[in-house]
Assembly symmetry: D3
Homo-oligomer: 322 residues x 6
């Protein structure tokens, strides 16, 4: 069943999320600070048993210059600079196993799949710790450091994600001008933030992006991980303003207003995890060229391989033949 | 938590499943009849946007000569006859989307992924109907035609699966002597049957194989799809003997006793869908060289990509470099 | 809690379901074809141990002339031609056990309880197989053959149901002009279709009828069996138009517009299986004289024995004393 | 899945339940006291619309002479004294609607269906209040008055049930020497008690009888209503001895040891509500001639209509043709 | 997620509950009758091991003069007449263990915690039976005696609660003019009734009060205990008018219109047990000075200790320093 | 229902947990390092509105000298050095609200309730962050830093807990020789560790202690938080040995073998969160004088206020009158 507003209302819905005055300054300083830490991009080949794809274990400097892991997959026989897909993953997962996620390299792209700090133990494995303070919080990362924008987990994760683009552009065989940022769910929310924070990415794919329109989201779904916010506020009853202020710095709606790259969104009308109104909130706010695939009968899996196919067609058109 | 016997008992457990006198005759006749129907293997190229893998839409004659669909994926740049992985899928699914399941072709194998008749609407899509009678039955296919071995659904599916091997051997670029049958869950149960019915397959991979040790299975799990059997018998209370007789013709334990190919099994000790004792029942009965990966902390997902890695290593060793 | 629109809105709600141009032709041809197959009605007495009711095992020609089973129950001591209740059952069930469903015969009616092809293993037993193709489908019958109106399961079932009326009229001791069609849930949906397809039935009882207003139903409930449609479309994402077209041929709303017999409906405001708006959609569309019992505090069981009492009173008034 | 001991162990299992020294005196006094209250059996005809069954609203004196309701159903055309089925119902229900439960009258028996004091609002309606004290108790009746055998709810209910037999024997058209007591679940437990307390009943049918082997039952199931006992003791932690003593006065195992009438039991191996070991505990203790139907694949519905058929055959044999 | 109307609508929502003409007379007579029964307040000291709080086991005459239990806790070192908190507890619980609920005495109040007749076995223990008739009812007390206002359970409980205030005023060391009535959930509903029935109580604390706006409540939540009403009506389908009439005599909305004491309410927007619209219904109807704490992210636990803190501040202000 | 071994087997059950060779050295070094960090104990009075209890906000140096918060509650009128209860709380909670947990101070003890680093957002609030690395982990703290004993979360928490005893002994009005460590669930596990690590504590209360017998626990329950371990290993499939090694450093069984203080345990036979066999494993291993309360009908709430009463009696006996 539909989990949110009727479809016609979704097309009309606009988020009430506001943005803090220093939103841009906050992120400018955050990124400047991270970039000032320097650090090397280390690329180690990995034996996988695959014959069409070359795989590398990448370590690049993320937030605070801390080492962040990623897989780089390259089509073995391709020559010349490749367009690159920088790929972020969903909540709870990490960069996964080296044999997973062969799509983008098989389609001819350089594929940099970033690990997710402190996650990577839920449905796919990770290898990157989170360094931040873990002050009184609900299980998960949604409320880690939530009492201040500076301490908040997603400040660190989004910075890693921007730095992943920086790293991708320094890789051999990658065409630095042909970078797409891609993700689903949390990965889509991260990609959306990067599209705003790195003005010259060439394309954005944000499938059922999480992390958008928090003030509404926490009141319309009981599902984790949005629910972590409500669980926290159920105990820390006097922290609503503070928490909502912190969230306004990472809300996809606020990033959407600043992005310019052509974008492909998707939303699913039976999605209880990322209610479609929160996706439409970001979609409507998105400042660049955009399209959205609406899956009427899907839950959070959304378009699945059909979204992959759509993303592949979209990137081929935007980044040129892979 | 562990869902079945303590681990030490699993290593000692032997199935009480018996086999009907005419088990071999039944299958010999079934396969002879299917093969006598003839029919062409049709191979149509498919545009996918992938650059390292060539994909083909295959139609081959299955049970009763009926057209069964499959995807054939070939590593584009490989030359010479390729070892082939004939791949069967889990309950409810079909051959899926053309962009899914890139592992085997990326590893250098010809990969023939068979569709599952009448399923293919649960978690991955299919395109092959089932022709059989659907007499009073519980939802799903477990009790379709269960009042007789001849009418039973799995007689048709296993026959398709054998004919998929026949078809694979006729494909261009495939080395007919280097065929592995591979699957997980229902796919593992199907592969196990094929390993018995096609004496010269080179290797079997049966991860958490379903369809083994029915008499025990239906009493130790409440989970679908084994539960379909109990649901049926809860209504057709006088049919226990007849149903158990039918099941004895498709029980993986009985196939295991007849197989000779080197085999890799896996079992998961927290699996409520395919209780590990039913997997060990087949494993202990298996007549060929064998090994089993035991995942202590996994449910039905079992080893996931780690099982893939294990299978890849195992096939490389058995079928020669891909 | 109420599962659907507020009660006042239910009285105003009208379905948006449309009908295909060839709706009438489709059914005219379907029935003509079935009737042209001929076939005998076979009536065999059954020993039950009952002393007030005579019971017969009936086999009559249904869709494609295929044999369909039914129970015929007659009040033993009644004389003269009897009014007849042709009775259809709910989803998953069959004609049941011979000792069940004694109401109508005890009330003086001839009672012909039709089996449901291919079901009859869920909560009551059946004995009639379905002959149709079972191409990639979700478990259950809701999506069996759903890619075309001609192949769809409910085309066959509704044809059986019409032929059950034909058969009832040929029975000894039955007054052919005094036929009521009766059912609850799926049985109510079937009866509603028959009331449209057999213009001269004398009365319709459709309690919480299933199979009405599909386009709305699949978006407002998560419960099986409506959910089978959404499950199917969640995988076959490109099939929405085709599926909705097929469903328009069997939607109770479209049958309701064509029926003329006096009708008793019921709806339950806490029903999550058959949302009351879908019942009201059919009720409002119903072209004949009509009344509806609204059960405010019931789920899908609706009026239960109170609905039975209401139906008994209604039929007594419409068909004359039994 | 099996919910209790393996089947072979069920056949060996014996209850550890003990009986209080004054068990017989307790019941003798209880019944004497109730019978000493006198009171009339009032029989009022009811209009139902049925033509084969005559129905009467019966009020008879139960515990403390309090009025207890029942339905009496008689086959209309039968002549001569009839064997009578005194029928008790399951937990939460009452005597139900007048149109329900037509089996026994249709089979030629006088059918006296007793209401259940204070219940009758769960799945079938009742009309008889309970007079007893409702001191601190868990929802339901399992712990009503549980701090003393004299105040306990089931003392009153079992007394009603004995008095129902007394009343049945006084009815016109009933053969007082041909009384069967019949019930399922709670109704089976009640019938079992009556078979012990009324030495000359002619037959007992106790399908999946509830209320047996309490000390074990409360430790092997989480399901209501046995769970009410554990819920109560979870709060009244110091009352275990007192509660277990009270329960020993109503435990079916203790009644079974005293009964002499031929009996038909049933048990279901997938029953989580009444674990089969508690049924076997009573069955093994039963002192009269006995048989038990074991349903391997059923939950608490057990044999359903097949149990009805079995009971009908059994009573025909024991009570003579109805 | 929010379980009820949007917050802005809650502020506008008014209950449609009506009141019977004889509402005031009904309660006047009920209380007069109870008070006319006389009876002593018995106060027995209890050894607890506490050194700052003195505890007494109190028995006072309630409805019909029946003995009702309570705990009285007094701050040991306090001198002079104390303000008193008469405290009622939530559904299913009783006065609890003597070591629980130390807040009010520790804050310097006399604390009289009333037991709840017939409950006290769900989450905290009680010791007071209910004497009333328990005619066909759903498990729990919500439908006990519901077929008449005079027989209804809550008539008895509210009378006990009024008599608890009467008793409190007679206690040594208590200042009879400084009585607050306090409770959460059912306890809040009881306190609200007392605030209307005892005109001179000095303050009311009703946190997430249960028992308000029944006609709406039963249609907007599936949770127990409101659901007991719907469960009852699902079986007793013809009793809606009678049940709703009975409930109108105990509905908090009708009491609210009559109360004058300053009041502190609370409501929780994610509360599925007591939907916030039913609390706001009472709040808006409340005739005295009032304030309401709204907890946006809490379920039925509402403000928990923050509500306690609020209540403590509120009572300090209203009753003078404790 | 019982969730674990039969009761008789629990009395015989011994854990198979082993201990690492450097267990004692590990903890000796850990504590020495923490103590070497120095740091002040800061005690700030808090206004609460209570009149019998004085409350203080305490900050003391914990692991790494990091500031850890606690509440100190003192009976206002007590004089002379007080015995002190150092109190640890359950999983997910923190030191809570200042108005909660008044028992120990009301009973005359100094009560130091330690906050739980990084938790305190689940069911009671906290104010102390965790400083440790949060590398790829499952939600919660069970797997935070689990790849090494030195990085593991519980190393830090247990150190805080030991330092809380150190801090308590430095408080005004506290008798340093009369320290009890007390807790339930996680709090019980922490207290058990402290009883081993601080040889001269005077008494231990460990109610349903969590964190014992990990190798067994993770295989016999599906409930959080033990399940976090299995969830982690389900993804990090190759980490079993490493994880089990880390856990052996914090397992309550290994601490129990080293403790000497008189101890009161409790276990609950229907506890699915902390299976009773894991409690008995610690109990049987406990080297000091000991007793255990066994609650047959309780889940994880165990004895609740009855356990409190038992603990109060036990401490009065062991620490002298409070």
């Amino acid at each position: 069943m539909f989990t949110d507003l009727p479809e016609a209302d979704l097309w009309r819905h606009r988020s009430g999320q506001t943005e803090p005055d220093d939103f841009d300054a906050f992120w400018q300083e955050t990124l400047a600070e991270a970039r000032s830490c320097g650090g090397e991009v280390v690329v180690e080949p990995v034996r996988t048993g695959l014959s069409t794809v070359d795989t590398f274990d990448v370590t690049f400097p993320g937030f605070g210059g801390e080492p962040v892991r990623a897989w780089l997959r390259l089509p073995r026989t391709a020559t010349g600079p490749l367009p690159v897909v920088v790929h972020y993953v969903g909540y709870g997962g990490g960069r996964g196993h080296v044999l997973e996620n062969l799509l983008w390299a098989s389609a001819g792209y350089a594929h940099l799949q970033m690990d997710t700090r402190g996650q990577g133990s839920g449905w796919s494995r990770g290898a990157t710790p989170d360094s931040g303070p873990a002050g009184p919080q609900a299980p998960g990362v949604m409320t880690r450091g939530i009492d201040s924008p500076h301490a908040y987990y997603y400040r660190r994760l989004f910075t890693d994600a921007v730095r992943a683009v920086d790293a991708a552009r320094r890789l051999d065989r990658v065409a630095p001008g042909r970078v797409a940022v891609v993700g689903q769910s949390q990965g889509g929310g991260v990609a959306l933030a990067v599209a705003a924070l790195v003005p010259d990415v060439a394309a954005l794919v944000a499938h059922v992006p999480f992390l958008c329109d928090f003030p509404r989201a926490v009141t319309v779904t009981d599902s984790l991980p949005f629910r972590e916010i409500a669980d926290y506020l159920a105990i820390h009853r006097d922290q609503e303003d503070r928490v909502m202020r912190t969230l306004s710095y990472v809300d996809g709606v606020n990033f959407a207003r600043r992005a310019a790259a052509p974008a492909r969104f998707s939303a699913a009308l039976m999605d209880a995890v990322v209610p479609p109104s929160t996706v439409f909130a970001a979609y409507h706010a998105y400042a660049g060229p955009k399209a959205i695939a609406v899956w009427r009968y899907n839950g959070h899996e959304a378009g699945g391989p059909d979204d992959d196919q759509g993303a592949l067609d979209f990137l081929t058109e935007r980044l040129g033949p892979a």
